[in-house]
Symmetry: D3
Subunit: 254 residues, 6 copies
């Protein structure tokens, strides 16, 4: 069964979208079609809560416009901006890079560490892990400590530093699994295959695989509970696409 996946890059960096697309296509099953869209507004990459809030809104706009052609949606930034919100209004599966990578990590060991592209980003990642109730399995978060010159080429510039961080996560923090975090690192787990002392996972490949699985499992969608569509109520000033999402009848999805 052909599966159509929509990956949204919540940031404005086309070079990162290219990394996402390449790794998604390498990861996908043969009968999966990948489409990657780039946020029309926002910042170059997300390190903070404020940037994530902007990315969430940009993602919601793109999803609202395009979801109808797809079987599943992936929020393609670590930190998963807007993911729980989107899960309420879509009747197709939706996941994100963090959620999916952590699911993979939890299937491979007990405690995982996250290797990230900056120091600042660690607080936002830690809060994301906590929001998923997984802080008990988080061994550590380590990040690069230099300003990034080129968000589309972090892997090339900083590859050895990232490997060294991962090794410290295992040796000093007790990590059983490494999560290489952030869309700018998409594909790095594949490149480093065999170089790290423990299993390593990546958000994009995990999200593509798990999105495919969710489509295949056909678990149904929420007609009740906290992920049912929001109750109908007046709204104003929203884009037509967002308005349509809010006007979906409760339980109307199929």
């Amino acid at each position: 069964m052909m599966k159509r996946l929509l990956l949204i890059n919540p940031n404005i960096s086309q070079s990162v979208s290219d990394l996402i697309r390449a790794e998604a296509e390498r990861s996908a099953a043969p009968d999966t079609r990948i489409e990657v869209l780039t946020a029309p507004f926002g910042v170059a990459y997300i390190e903070t809560r404020f940037e994530a809030m902007i990315g969430a809104y940009a993602t919601a706009e793109l999803v609202a416009q395009h979801h109808e052609r797809f079987d599943a949606v992936v929020v393609a930034a670590f930190g998963d901006p807007g993911l729980p919100a989107l899960r309420e209004v879509l009747d197709i599966p939706v996941t994100g890079l963090t959620e999916a990578a952590l699911a993979s990590a939890c299937l491979l060991g007990n405690r995982f560490s996250i290797v990230a592209i900056s120091q600042r980003i660690r607080a936002w990642y830690r809060e994301t892990v906590q929001s998923y109730g997984l802080e008990g399995r988080l061994a550590s978060i380590r990040g690069l400590d230099e300003p990034l010159q080129d968000i589309g080429n972090v892997q090339g510039n900083q590859g050895e530093r990232l490997v060294a961080l991962a090794e410290r996560c295992v040796a000093e923090d007790g990590a059983d699994v490494i999560v290489l975090a952030g869309a700018p690192l998409a594909g790095l787990a594949r490149t480093l295959r065999g170089r790290l002392p423990v299993p390593a996972v990546d958000g994009v490949s995990s999200a593509v695989r798990h999105a495919e699985s969710l489509v295949a499992l056909q678990p149904g969608h929420a007609r009740c509970g906290s992920f049912a569509p929001p109750p109908q109520k007046p709204h104003q000033g929203l884009s037509p696409a967002l308005a349509r999402l809010l006007e979906r009848k409760t339980g109307s999805g199929a």
Copy 2:
């Protein structure tokens, strides 16, 4: 010292903004000036994660346009949409109805219950409490179980039901304090004074008082750590006001 507080109603309901303003003015110190702004886009009231995401963005836009005239900002919806994000970009204190009401509750007893305007809203509130690390002090969340007819008149229509819910929180759930939640209930704690078996607090009055205290304490703002302004990076497509917020130099605020 005169203090100027900006309260943002993240929803489009002017009637709720009126409730907020009235209770804020009753609560404020004599030398405090209150201004309430209403979201230009969004929904009538927030019950879900998706609605909160929209409210957060609308709040950010209003704050970006208006913060310079104020000494502190209050996100005037329970659930505090956008609060942690705004704390990064502002160099004045910012709080929200949930955060402020929980701070009051924690100063009055050990465990608190939240009385809310709907069943659906409980998941969103629970996640907000968890994001503040306060789930260990949450006795329960109880909500009205009928659709709201008039968001500006919940107190009148449902007052006795809300009292009954509060009494069950004390008798059955072990609450030491009641939090009357949601801007539509602004002022109800004041109205019910003496009728509830334990102390009761309200988001609007708590937020006004605590915002005043934060201005008075002059604790300084973050030049380092996870609430320092986001590192400079390219952006596009944002409103001029949001763009200005992002272009504030790290540590430049004073």
Copy 3:
């Protein structure tokens, strides 16, 4: 790429192995080969810690004898007897019904409930969820309250009761997702599609899909950390197959 999955039923019930096989084959990708083996010793089904301990040892014996022909292993009983132990000695992915079903549930909502085949089994399931650090996402565990007549036909005999339990999990316990637990319920999520008010997942289908994903992701195996092969040391009295597993050189797997 053809994937060969070994599913171990840790119990002696051939009728349950048949349910497992049927659902596994329905769930698997076209190029996946499924083999199900039944424990040569043990009990009819696992409800308690003591029964799980026996099932773990029986599983280990079967895995030790057969793993070399496979790309991944699934411990096909809820509670995952022996799973973390097997992860140390195998250099292929291994998962279990609980771990896999919870991974699916966590990708579909925030809080999940488990619907189980008996009252007694709930303590064992709760401890399993806790061992995965996911108690913060567990809404409830509800179980049938009558002795089971025929472990191979629970779904037929008790189907309506199981649906009613699931509905209470949503309405009373706040579940966003239902986990239909236990190999005897394999396939029930598929049968009930559309009848439950929230997404529902099943251990067997989840484990098959996630095992396929782990094979595809090629995350590497542990040469260091707590899931590396056990350090070499004297042993005695073990079956030849178990002895071989223990004698694998640290880091020799590929």
Copy 4:
């Protein structure tokens, strides 16, 4: 409205009472009257559970004798000896330096660190934070590591060392906010204004401000629940003032 605040120094150090009074008066609103009383028995400052137990009893005696003239009470030692106990028997608001400083810190960031006057005191502070359910927001506790020469002059002797500790809390422990702990540090947050890289708060100023707010909010007092007055029962051997506190009729306060 004039507010009369009673601050109890649970220790015998008059020099610390002077620090408390000075900072309280600087912090208070213009219409607030401050009175500081010093424990007639006890130790020079509290570092341990045993010393806190003595301080709690001394505080209770002073509160029992003097509370009737006041609108609110502050237990003016970090660690808040006796605070939850006093909350049961008083029908006016009561808070303490730790509780109030943590409330301020929680309104200014996500994670806070505590900077303290000795190594030994850290265990007692950690247990206090845990008793408030706030360990999830505690980044670290760091303390001076030399014996104190003069409890009334810690700030002067050790100021630079305290700043250095605070900087390490931010740089190494991830603190968003610094809590300068202990009555001997009263006023230091004010002195250091602008020197620390994140917001800093102080127990005395926070307690004064929050006590004023609680008086203003008039939340009511507990007639039911775990902070209602203790049920009447025989007692003997207590001071007349303590006996009177215990003989207050349940729910009689107002």
Copy 5:
């Protein structure tokens, strides 16, 4: 080896001291000598934080006067008033009814419930369990819901009600073990032997046995860390016995 145990009843009820002594003597090894002292000041029994604070101070006074003749001390009220404080200043083992009963319960099952003598007392007990980090093993606390007529005869008056509460803890709350709480119930576990569906333990018998074990194990006492004697500092106004306890040299105990 003869062991001399000092049990302190932190309350003024001689009838409860008699219950404590009787059960302690029934529980003790043949070569153990039991002495029970009754608080010279305080209340009839402890239900609240304020009453516990008084009981802690009375216990400390008695311990300070008498500890030198004993090998171990037991704080003989559930809730263990003053226990952690006393552990700092004594160089002999000290335990309490709650701590000891929970230790027994944890050796007999996974989750325990507490059956108590009143509704009000439950908050104080819950906080005590939390202070020991054992809330994860607490299934429930249930209490009698009528005022006690005679604190020395609760078992006779309320025996059947207490059994019914215990049965509900097992059937509804998932308790594996019952803790019969409070000195007024001393001996009830013995009386009910065989009547309860799960193991039941009692504070007094547990405390006596565990105190004997601690004396036998000779684990040494703390010369460093948070239970070493408080650092020397000025004090005033304390009873001679308390003063002597505080003046013990750090590490001088043997």
Copy 6:
């Protein structure tokens, strides 16, 4: 009353059984009879989950064959392989080295550290502590970092290194109590008496003492709840002794 204790060494090392027996006999009350049995199959010592799974099964076989002659059973390996399982099928008390040592530690201080014989073993110990819900009291786990030459002579070879580890647990990790972990360290707490800065406990001596206490307390055994005997169901292929254990009638034990 004479008490007969069965200690099972879940490993094949006779030299470790000798250490266990010697320390058990030194620790036991005069009227206690000690018997130590060594696993007929398994590994030299347990460091990993897989080795623990084997040890659990070997322990169960020995217990099944021999329990009828005893008043209590001790699983004499740190990590307590099989302990919760055995508690379901025995109607006499059963404990293990970890459970018993942690019970002792919790009676002596607030936070404990574990000193262990290898680096690898730490993950298994941490998971054991978590399974007992005591991670909140765990200060740290430190282990030797060299391969063990002679499992029966670790104390002699590594004694000074173990003392140094314990001292770091106190000075750097905040331990109030040291747990010397693992049967190979049986007796070391006794040998080191007076050399460590805080109380130190040992699994074997703690288990012997607590097992004696549980026999003396006669708390009854579980006829209901999650530690009642497993419900009757078909089994096959088990040893006659294990089969007999499973065929015990629910509630038949006395």
